[in-house]
Symmetry: C2
Subunit: 376 residues, 2 copies
């Protein structure tokens, strides 16, 4: 393998696949990035136990200005390799695989010789049948992820809850995540008919996917395999393993009758929750209390050691029974973040039943649920 | 104590004194900031075992827009207090000390009540005689610090070497730091005659001092006490303890005859050292090798496990004997950083004797020394 190409263009591709590469893996070759060059271009691959990312830099890519002298493949220790590329002196550089899997990397007067590994020993990525693909705009997919993934469980005690449940049926894609204290669910209508699926994707994979997709104005093709899912754009393939097991039936958790309803501006409630949680974080229970009456809505935070805060909240509309309810402000903060700068309706049954949050202008497409904390 | 003032102006002062406040101290009251209000303004104090910072917000400060209702003093847990101030809803806020050292902090509809401590129990700062003061422009002091402090020892095995040695005599201020592997020394001429001094200031104190002085276009008054030094600007007092003991005689370490001399542009040498150190960091010894002949200057880095690098260096001038010398590239990197974007002369005696680095246009006012590593 021997080629010369534009350094920063290559660096961008390398950084994409590096998202999948961990230096902590127990499989040495997976600390490496696989470079595979044929006459149509250069493929970069990074992988760990959960995800694999493959990007392709075409010989026709004008920014890359690739000069291919000899095709071939090699695996190079990713972190170290990227440090070298980053620090090379010139805009272009040459990689040349010499004997014993050694690679010469030259740029200007600097010449590195680094030890690589045989690309034949790199694990193969799953082969995908290109039927049964679903195309979703990247922006929509990112929104779906950002609105749900924060609610997955961080604990391995129930592994299935560390993933986002995605269900495609009846011309809609539903994503739901819960850690059993709070839940977030988004439904996206799809234009056309698709084969249905029901999968659970690890939350960590989706966070990496969202980062690696970026802000692109393209669509991503989703393919489901036996135990993998592939997200594919014209230049990048992102594979994730799926979680095994049955996801709990979350639909029955969402209540549909209420006794108290209040509308807030997200930004103003967010600021008040931040203030109240300053105190609750110092206490043992980390709870804040919301008191709703017809005349006044007040938020309380308290820590016996440090002090207390109370704040009369601004709201847009209130109706129903008076209520005092306590909850973990961190769940509320995350929920509000996911809504962005809008108005929400918060609906309560009682102080001990989960309450829901929805955009005021919503149509049930995005709903969140928070379980309160009993204080007596 | 009761006053109302501009939140972000107060926050700036609070952040200054917070540099001196550690949450890890074993003396509980030192986790707090002392606020002391009289009719001329508000004094904020933060302190730890090494440094103390006191700032003053005058009632005449137009940005602060202070309304003083009652003078007094209180100590508040600094980290927590600043989190509250940061998150208050309005541009102004009111602090009111009520009973039992509790403080009401109100802004808009938010009202905090936090537990404080009696200001009478806060330790007193040293009293300074205002004779024997030396005025230095902040910019010059910052330069002096940045050119030397990186070379102090990080190890407590020889505590005196963790400080910067500052000597004022014969109308010049000399600062020198060494960790016994490298040394950095700067001399600043002073206009007028001053009482001489010879002190060692902890490197950590100087780093904090430099950060807290910022980019101000003012002078700082330096006063020496028994075991403290005070750096004072119109609004801020910065105290540091001094290190006890005798600083080694570093003057005899600096050689004055040489056999090889080479001139480099700092930026281009820096980039090459960065590249070579990529390899040396992977090896056990962390050394790079410089080879100087009349025709070529080459830098080598090598790690048996990972690979090697060699780079023909650009230089401005070379003279004297050919030489091969090995050294720790990290010392070189730090030394080059301190020079900034200029040209330097590097002068060698032999492969086993310390070599010096000086700005080519320098006049001995700034010199650095690096001890090579013997490789056989």
């Amino acid at each position: 393998m021997k080629l010369t190409l534009h350094r920063s263009t290559f660096m961008q591709e390398l950084q994409k696949v590096q998202r999948a590469i961990s230096s902590k893996t127990t499989i040495p070759i997976l600390t490496g990035v696989k470079l595979s060059l044929n006459h149509s271009g250069l493929t970069l691959t990074g992988s760990n136990a959960d995800i694999s990312i493959e990007t392709f830099l075409s010989v026709e890519n004008e920014k890359a200005q690739m000069t291919i002298e000899q095709t071939g493949a090699i695996v190079l220790q990713a972190r170290f390799f990227s440090e070298i590329i980053k620090r090379l002196p010139e805009d272009f550089f040459t990689m040349n695989v010499i004997e014993n899997n050694q690679v010469e990397i030259t740029s200007g007067k600097a010449s590195f010789t680094v030890n690589g590994l045989d690309a034949d020993n790199y694990p193969h990525l799953p082969v995908v049948e290109t039927t049964n693909q679903l195309a979703v705009p990247i922006q929509i997919l990112n929104q779906l992820i950002n609105e749900t993934v924060f609610a997955v469980s961080q604990h391995e005690s129930r592994p299935i809850l560390t993933g986002v449940h995605m269900v495609l049926k009846e011309q809609q894609l539903l994503a739901v995540a819960t850690d059993s204290h709070r839940l977030s669910q988004r439904v996206i209508p799809l234009g056309a008919e698709h084969d249905q699926f029901d999968i659970v994707i690890p939350g960590k994979s989706l966070i990496e996917l969202s980062r690696s997709l970026g802000e692109l104005d393209e669509s991503v093709e989703i393919s489901i395999m036996e135990n993998q899912v592939l997200f594919e754009t014209p230049t990048t393939k992102f594979y994730s393993r799926l979680l095994e097991g049955t996801y709990p039936d979350t639909n029955r958790l969402i209540p549909n009758s209420f006794n108290t309803e209040i509308e807030f501006s997200v930004r103003s409630l967010q600021a008040a929750i931040e203030r109240a949680s300053l105190l609750s974080h110092e206490g043992r229970n980390n709870i804040v209390k919301l008191s709703i009456t017809a005349s006044e809505v007040v938020l309380y935070g308290n820590s016996p050691e440090v002090g207390r805060v109370e704040e009369v909240l601004s709201y847009e509309k209130v109706s129903g029974d008076p209520l005092e309810i306590s909850f973990n402000p961190d769940y509320m903060k995350k929920a509000l973040q996911a809504f962005g700068d809008t108005s929400i309706s918060v609906r309560f049954i009682s102080a001990i039943r989960p309450f829901t949050l929805e955009p005021t202008e919503g149509n049930g497409a995005f709903i969140q649920l928070i379980t309160p904390v009993r204080t007596n």
